[in-house]
Amino acid sequence: MKKTKVIGLSTRILFILTMLIVVISFYSIIGFISSISGETFKLNMDKNESTGDWALTLNASPTNKGFLDLSLFIELTLFDSNDQVIARGSKHVLVKAGESETFSVALNIPAEFVPSGDLENAKGTFQMELRVRTLGDLVGLTQIMKIKGG
């Protein structure tokens, strides 16, 4: 077989492979993102009445509707008004194709950060980082959301 034919054929195969990677990866990631809702990602705030400390818990049960396994990383961070970390919690989960995974990430917030006793109105920043990767971590999406309070 001629060199040019071999290269031409390889190029075509690689092009089809690239297109397949794009379609399958996007299908997995978008399918996963669309499964995120108030039902599958619940954020609970509980106050320990005796100590005044707060517990912020994210309960998640996402579903991977795609054909590829998804690697999911979630990190919750709470900063004070000087951008110093008050609490941080993270979780790394592998969601297999067609399956769903249940997990939770919890933050313990000391009472001194919430002098008013109301966490929702406390001064500071809540940050949530969500990293979704597929195809052996080669393709992915990262979302960093910051909400300022107080």
Partner: protein
């Protein structure tokens, strides 16, 4: 140099779709849409459309020149290679949402005073595969050109 009617038509279509339309769209679409796009996705749409217009112009020029050049000539080879590199740049432009230098990393950011949201889509693998495909295509073009221009052994004069 030949005049290729087909390439003139294709170049004109490319120029209308990718240069004239993007340049005219800020006048056709409500300015609120551009402001909203900037606030929600953090994209300067006007600047992005200007970049698309430049790409459209280069695309049209390359289609036209490729249509006029002889395929077997050196100019034809250079133009074909330039086209392949140009398409690779277009792929990087699309994957990076207008930022070629990000090499397949698209960043969207938006928000208001109290809420900020940054979304990064990592498609560097696709950019890398596109680079390999373009390299292979260029290698193929060079080999084909060499095959075409080399004198066959039978055609050499017998001494």
């Amino acid at each position: 140099m030949k005049v290729n009617v087909k390439s003139i038509i294709v170049a004109a279509i490319a120029l209308i779709l990718f240069t004239i339309l993007p340049l005219a769209s800020p006048k056709l679409v409500a300015p609120e849409f551009f402001k909203a796009a900037s606030a929600i996705w953090g994209i300067d749409l006007v600047s992005l459309l200007n970049k698309v217009a430049v790409i459209g112009f280069i695309m049209a020029a390359l289609i036209l020149l490729n249509g006029m050049a002889e395929k077997s000539s050196k100019t034809g080879l250079i133009l074909s290679i330039t086209s392949k590199i140009f398409w690779f740049i277009v792929v990087l432009f699309i994957l990076g949402l207008g930022k070629i230098e990000n090499f397949g990393l698209a960043v969207l950011s938006g928000g208001s005073d109290n809420v900020s949201n940054i979304v990064t889509v990592d498609l560097r693998l696709i950019a890398l595969l596109a680079a390999v495909i373009v390299s292979l295509k260029i290698a193929n073009l060079i080999l084909e050109f060499r095959d075409r221009t080399s004198i066959p052994a039978q055609a050499l004069p017998k001494s």
